[in-house]
């Protein structure tokens, strides 16, 4: 896109944010009563819905049961109306399968699966509106849903996508910035220990800038974790008020 400056001279981005500012994060937990855990999360214009079933007995192939821990199944799909052009194949294509694998990997690292041997936990995430940072929003929504389901985790899993423009890292990319050929790095972090659950980067970036980018991503993730923590505490307060404690 010629003529569209991703970072102006005064330090403002396309949507008026500063380089290290995150988009507005709003979330609700417990949106569905049927599922064990559910959450709806909006990060800017990207909206995602996450639903968790489990832990329950292995369905389908019994042979995949693990004797010492739970199996986590993830499915990532995008609604057909989520993108500018109607999406023909919401799930089953290679990109969705890859995303599902990444989500599975992230949550296998964070959820304490040793407490539920021979069982299965299903995490379904659906993107209702896609405006950049799909993977990060999915991970954040799924974290809230897993907490809503009462499944113990080592720590919050927070994710953020950061990009690198003009020697400056930009936190929480939107779609216009992502498709502008910016090197983007998606990071899923467990904030308290500073452990990286997933690291994914596309497009060229010089090795010297890698450290700055990872640092910026970790700071952004810690910011996200504060917001998620607020949401969880508020939800708990509301629930305790309703039960009259």
């Amino acid at each position: 896109m010629a003529g569209l400056e991703l970072l102006s001279d005064q330090g403002y981005r396309l949507d008026g944010r500063k380089a290290t500012e995150l988009r507005k994060l709003q979330a609700r937990m417990g949106v569905f009563t049927q599922a064990d855990g559910s959450a709806y999360l909006e990060q800017g214009n990207t909206k995602a819905l996450a639903v968790v079933y489990g832990p329950h007995e292995m369905r389908g192939s019994r042979s995949r049961t693990l004797h010492d821990r739970a199996v986590i199944n993830c499915q990532y799909s995008m609604a057909t109306f989520s993108t500018a052009e109607r999406k023909r194949r919401p799930h089953g294509d290679r990109k969705s399968t890859e995303m599902s694998l990444h989500l599975k990997q992230t949550f296998e690292a964070a959820v304490m699966t040793q407490l539920y041997p021979r069982s299965q936990i299903d995490i379904y995430v659906k993107i209702l509106q896609s405006d950049g940072g799909n993977y990060s929003v999915c991970v954040n929504a799924a974290t809230l849903a897993v907490i809503d389901a009462g499944i113990p985790m080592r720590d919050y899993v927070c994710a953020c996508t950061v990009g690198f423009v003009d020697e400056t890292p930009l936190a929480d990319l939107c779609y216009a910035e992502e498709s502008g050929g910016v090197s983007s790095l998606a990071l899923a972090l467990l904030p308290r220990g500073g452990q990286i659950a997933l690291l994914q980067m596309d497009a060229r970036l010089h090795q010297d800038h890698l450290e700055t980018l990872i640092e910026a991503a970790m700071t952004a993730c810690k910011g996200v974790s504060k917001v998620l923590d607020e949401v969880v505490r508020q939800h708990l307060q509301e629930a305790s008020v309703l039960t009259g404690e």
Partner: protein
């Protein structure tokens, strides 16, 4: 097909060896296996050997009608869309396509209408671990080796010249992204470069970093449920930088050799690159093993060692259908002696007859009698 699960003792052995910084094939922690690149007769066709992992890469190209003026570069891996193939496919796509290693604009034939479409097919012939690295080497080598036919356009008319009419043109490649895989063990305490198949089975997770020789990172992907620390990632990227420049050297050398061979008019192709493996000499070089005092050492060991165990004498066939090994000990079951003898004689007689009796019982005592009852039909 389901993989046979790895036994616990094998797993423990591998992990213990890795803790002591030893690898199965004697490599160091950061060593790659031997890489061998050979080319086929067609341009754009190559074989890559990474130790025992063998891959072949070929190209298909066509002029297609596209609305955008950029060409598509799709990579196809194995036929089955299993999880592994999806992962490898996506990783290869990201490594090659997103890093923009090829000038896609130069592949446009008629702007807005016709464009070259190049498809990279990578086939795994033998999987001995680390398919990702081998695939990236194969793909980028094949792309560098590939020559597309020359075209000329007159308005809407497109003429494609065959290789005889006009020399084919190589693709314009900006840089060569090569991926380096790091395997993590014991929750990230130990790391190995270029895991072989056994090491892959016991690893906790994998970190793949694709770089080019200008130290630009083209893609990073962590997989498996491992938790990484920032310092680990930085260290891996430094190691990757070193490895990538070595491998790029190797690829350039191989391409140069192939070009020289073709120019000299020599035979080229897979048949030539296969090793002959004929015995051409009867003499062998001296082995680099210390042999001066072997006799004394051997004698000393034999003297200190235990006496050899008594070998069992070879079986004797007293009657057709019965084999006897050894003499047998006294029976210690506490039965009457005469019953015991009758019983044994009876058994002997029975098996001597031509009966269709398939008795597969074996009585074995220490150095004792071994009766093997054979099927009399045989």
């Amino acid at each position: 097909m389901k993989d046979t699960p790895l036994s616990n003792c094998e797993r423990d052995f591998l992990l213990k060896a890795i803790e002591e910084k030893k690898r199965l094939d004697g490599r160091q922690t950061y060593d790659y296996r031997k890489i061998k690149i050979s080319f086929g007769t067609d341009y754009g066709c190559c074989f890559v050997d990474l130790g025992q992992t063998r891959l072949s890469c070929s190209h298909m190209f066509a002029i297609v009608c596209q609305t955008e003026h950029l060409c598509t570069l799709s990579s196809v891996f194995t036929v089955r869309q299993s999880e592994l193939s999806v992962k490898l496919n996506r990783q290869l796509e990201r490594c090659l396509r997103n890093s923009k290693c090829i000038d896609t604009e130069s592949l446009c034939v008629v702007s807005g209408e016709k464009v070259w479409q190049i498809r990279v097919d990578v086939h795994t012939l033998n999987n001995d671990g680390n398919l990702m690295d081998a695939a990236s080497i194969a793909a980028i080598t094949a792309l560098c080796h590939f020559r597309r036919p020359d075209v000329s356009t007159q308005g809407q008319e497109v003429t494609v010249y065959s290789p005889e009419e006009r020399d084919p043109i190589p693709l314009s490649i900006y840089h060569m992204p090569i991926s380096v895989s790091f395997a993590f063990f014991q929750q990230g305490t130990y790391l190995l470069v270029d895991p072989c198949e056994r090491e892959e089975r016991v690893m906790d997770g994998l970190l793949v970093i694709a770089m080019n020789k200008h130290r630009e990172i083209c893609s990073i992907q962590s997989s498996g449920g491992i938790m990484l620390l920032k310092e680990q990632v930085m260290r891996c990227s430094k190691i990757a930088g070193v490895k990538v420049s070595e491998i790029t050297e190797l690829i350039n050398e191989a391409l140069l050799n192939d070009r020289k061979a073709r120019k000299a008019g020599g035979k080229c192709g897979f048949a030539e690159s296969m090793p002959q493996e004929r015995i051409t000499a009867l003499k062998k070089d001296e082995t680099p093993v210390e042999m001066t005092d072997v006799t004394e050492t051997a004698n000393g060991i034999i003297q200190k060692g235990e006496a050899a165990p008594q070998t069992v004498p070879s079986p004797v066939v007293p009657v057709p259908g019965v084999g006897q090994v050894g003499q047998g000990l006294q029976n210690s079951w506490g039965l009457e002696d005469d019953d015991e003898d009758d019983y044994e004689e009876e058994k002997n007689d029975n098996s001597g007859d031509e009966q269709v009796e398939e008795v597969t019982k074996m009585d074995v005592g220490e150095g004792g009698l071994l009766f093997i009852y054979l099927d009399s039909l045989m």
